[in-house]
């Protein structure tokens, strides 16, 4: 393989690796792309920023042939192309690591890496496992990963799977002699910080022989890893910034068209009475299959963050408190009453709410309407006796749509058609409609949301806390945990190892926490 050496460009005038001119794409009722321009140079990492709905995903899909633009041109290395399919795009050297991982879980890593372009790995329909392993090993070597190519994909860690994805995308080098263009769509959204560092190292290595388009909601990451950033807004390109010396606030301003609020986490909203409220949730030496002897106390009106690396067991603690994961021993009380955790029903009845991390699979029912999703839990709020009163439901839903400023054309719209942020708000509203919420368990509530939507979710969390709701937060990033929490519990290997006080004005730094986590 000559991949590592292809960065030695011998051509005189550097041609752009990829160029997009005036790309337009209409969907019924909306213009997703409205004349987007984009230039990706050879061997650079280009950041792509923009709020949800700015047209990023449509643009990316157009670049890998999943969406056909209505107008505009795509040029690859000075040649105008039409991309009709993923294969077409791959033939032109463009490959994408999808936001939600696109690996077949029950195949080996090796098969996933060569999937769709097995080359010598398959002769006349017959697998040659040795060759295939070798091909995969080559790919993994390129990015310096030590995964066993014959391991089953679903036995790998999340970060390892991301590596497999990248190794897979790099297979497009086999289809073209030119350096490839690799698109990474939100690669960090589900990674823990240590894993993110590994990923960034890989991205920098990629730059040696490829061009990279890097998409992330986390502007600090974008500035960290990219050479330039291109910003989209409302389906149009609004500018390009070299990352050297740029600040997240600059980008943010471009993305939303005005200066972003400095108080991202709405700390100003946090209210603190001097008298500590009585503890609402008390967990005493709770053990489950992946955590042991966890003690936890959350007071009314308090936001407690739990941080920990992957495998620390914090997700399972969160689910256990909702009765969605079995607890083996321990005692959990809510306002002094024992919480029934034999199933989710007991927790719900006691006023515990849970917002799962996997919104699309566990949080919402995609084909059902906003109203149905919002009213799935608290029946009393919409019923008289056993009957649903449509009027009551409509009024209530509309009221919450307005209160949380959920952007939906109608309460009857399928929730799957809303943006992530609005979906998340509906999921949150589910726990609020009855007004009986006492404890809210938030598992990565801002995963995959853009800055604007995040900010709104943060504001909502503050408001709920101020109204006395106790909150357990598994944050998307350490910054978020620090920014939002009043206290932070660090979990390590299934145990709560450290409690860090986190008052407004006296916040610890991420570095402090990382030390405790590993």
């Amino acid at each position: 393989m000559t991949s590592v050496t292809t960065n030695l460009q011998d051509g005189p005038a550097p041609v752009n690796a990829l160029e997009v001119r005036g790309l337009v794409k209409h969907y019924p009722g909306v213009k997703a792309l409205d004349g987007v321009d984009l230039v990706v140079r050879q061997n650079e990492v280009l950041g792509l920023a923009g709020e949800n709905g700015a047209g990023k995903s449509t643009l990316l899909k157009a670049l890998v042939g999943l969406v056909r633009p209505d107008a505009g041109e795509i040029w690859v290395r000075g040649e105008k192309v039409k991309l009709r399919s993923v294969v077409d795009a791959a033939d032109h050297g463009i490959g994408m690591v999808f936001q939600e991982q696109s690996l077949v879980p029950n195949l080996t890593a090796a098969e996933n890496i060569v999937l769709g372009s097995e080359g010598a790995g398959v002769r006349r329909g017959i697998y040659r496992w040795d060759t295939m392993r070798k091909l995969a090993q080559e790919q993994l070597d390129k990015i310096g990963s030590h995964i066993d190519p014959l391991a089953r994909t679903d036995s790998l860690s999340f970060a390892d799977r991301q590596m497999v994805e990248i190794a897979k995308v790099l297979r497009i080098e086999e289809r073209t002699s030119n350096p490839p263009v690799i698109i990474l769509d939100e690669p960090t959204s589900v990674l823990e910080s240590a894993e993110i560092e590994t990923l960034f190292t890989q991205v920098r290595r990629l730059r040696e022989f490829a061009s990279v388009v890097f998409v992330s909601h986390r502007l600090d990451e974008v500035l960290d890893v990219c050479d330039r950033v291109s910003v989209l807004r409302g389906g149009q390109s609004v500018g390009e910034v070299p990352t050297a010396g740029a600040e997240p606030a600059d980008l943010h301003r471009m993305m939303i068209g005005s200066t972003g609020s400095d108080d991202h986490y709405h700390e100003g909203l946090a209210e603190h009475s001097d008298e500590p409220a009585r503890p609402r949730l008390v967990v005493k030496s709770m053990s489950g299959s992946t955590f042991r002897d966890v003690d936890l106390e959350v007071r009314a009106g308090e936001i407690v963050g739990i941080v920990g690396v992957h495998g620390s067991g914090r997700e399972d603690v969160c689910r256990a408190l909702f009765g969605a994961e079995p607890t083996l021993s321990g005692e959990v009380t809510l306002d002094g009453e024992k919480l029934d955790l034999s199933g989710t029903r007991g927790a719900v009845a006691s006023g515990v709410g849970y917002v799962p991390a996997e919104r699309k699979i566990e949080g919402m029912v995609g084909p059902m309407s906003v109203a149905d999703n919002m009213m799935l839990t608290k029946q009393k709020a919409r019923c008289t006796g056993p009957m649903v009163v449509p009027k009551k439901q409509a009024t209530l839903v509309d009221q919450w749509i307005e209160r949380l400023s959920i952007r939906t054309p109608h309460r009857g719209t399928q929730i799957g058609r809303l943006s992530g942020g609005n979906q998340q708000k509906v999921v949150l509203a589910r726990w609020l409609v009855a007004g009986d919420i006492r404890l809210l368990l938030l598992d990565h509530p801002t995963r995959g949301l853009d800055i604007g939507a995040r900010s709104e979710v943060y504001r909502l969390m503050r408001e709920l806390a101020n109204s006395g709701v106790a909150t357990v937060l598994l944050a998307d990033s350490l910054e978020e945990a620090i920014g939002m929490s009043d206290r932070i519990i660090v979990m390590n290997d299934g145990r709560a190892t450290k409690e860090v006080s986190c008052p407004s004005g006296g916040k610890p730094t991420p570095l402090d926490l990382v030390k405790e986590m590993v």
């Binding site: 909306v30 879980p105 989710t344």
Partner: protein
């Protein structure tokens, strides 16, 4: 449906300013009427093949014939809507005919209720086994199918049991308003009542949420397990009611009487356009589907299609009917 690792590739591209309206499009409206269109088309075709087919008496006979199938399919539709499948309905129905015939001399008119309740209880047991043991419904009900058949054979001593007292079920052979057979009227009533109960209570969202996405429903705190057990119970009770209809029609109960109705019932559900993967569909669709299947079963031979060709046509037509009625916008992956 397996959990998609990627949500459907090109679906919500422009989610943001969500200008999409909540109202169904014209195409969707047509799809929701497809089962009825298929029914009418089939009727027209049969009439063309044999003009004598389209008479009031012949139609009355056809709907009367369809009644047990409608009831069976309606009950099982609930289970399918919850994302499961009930393969035991036919065997349970046979068993119930035996129950009915055996108990009638002692219980008289009450037997109908008791048989339906017994079948419902048996359905509930299956539902509980499915929910508690976490065995796929396909396997639970496949096992149930053979167990019920065995029990029916043993308690009936493998023979039919005569229904001597016809008064208890005589009313099922009456006609409403002179034309509408009572058994079909009861079937309609069952469909209507179950539909109404579901529609007017939170059950509708429970059932659909369970069918579309069980894990999301569970984490939203909906009583998923209770809903599933209830669905199996209703499915069982419907099998019991269908058994009463069959026993009243055949004047006997027999351990194999309804065994052959399993595939037609499932076909009726699918022909109606209910997604076999759960969530999307309705009992009304199954009603239309059951009528289509009945017309195929009785209509083809009556209009003179030879037996070999009848089977070939039956195969081709049900596939075509499903191709027409399935609303693919609600089903992401066709397996």
């Amino acid at each position: 449906m397996s959990t998609p690792v990627i949500t459907e590739p090109a679906s919500n591209p422009a989610a943001e300013p969500a200008v999409v309206t909540g109202a169904p499009t014209a195409a969707q409206r047509v799809t929701s009427f497809m089962p009825v269109i298929a029914l009418v088309a089939l009727l027209a075709a049969l009439t063309i093949a044999d003009p004598d087919f389209l008479t009031q008496r012949s139609l009355t006979a056809a709907v009367r014939t369809s009644a047990p199938l409608v009831v069976l399919a309606a009950g099982a539709t609930l289970v399918v809507l919850c994302g499961g499948i009930d393969l035991s309905i036919a065997a349970l129905c046979s068993l119930s005919t035996v129950f009915f015939a055996m108990w009638l001399p002692d219980l008289g008119g009450l037997t109908i209720l008791v048989a339906v309740a017994a079948a419902g209880a048996i359905g509930a047991v299956q539902g509980i086994a499915h929910v508690v043991l976490r065995i796929p419904s396909f396997v639970v009900t496949l096992g149930g199918m053979s167990i019920f058949s065995a029990v029916a054979l043993v308690i009936s001593d493998a023979g039919p049991i005569r229904v001597i007292d016809r008064d208890a079920t005589g009313w099922l052979n009456l006609y409403v308003a002179g034309y509408l057979p009572m058994s079909f009227f009861v079937a309609l009533l069952v469909v209507a009542v179950i539909s109404l109960i579901i529609k007017l209570t939170p059950l509708e969202s429970f059932v659909r949420a369970t069918g579309y996405s069980e894990s999301a429903a569970r984490l939203a705190g909906t009583p998923v397990d209770a809903v599933k057990v209830a669905a199996f119970t209703v499915s069982g009770a419907c099998a019991g009611l269908a058994a009463v209809m069959l026993a009243s029609r055949n004047f006997s109960g027999s351990p194999t009487m309804a065994d052959n109705l399993l595939l037609p019932a499932v076909a009726a559900i699918v022909v109606g356009g209910t997604a076999i993967t759960g969530g999307h569909g309705s009992l009304w669709r199954s009603l239309a589907g059951a009528l289509v299947v009945t017309l195929l079963r009785v209509g083809l031979p009556i209009v003179g299609v030879p037996s070999a060709w009848e089977q070939i046509l039956y195969g081709a037509i049900i596939v075509a009917a499903v191709a027409l009625t399935l609303d693919r916008s609600k089903v992401l992956i066709i397996k």
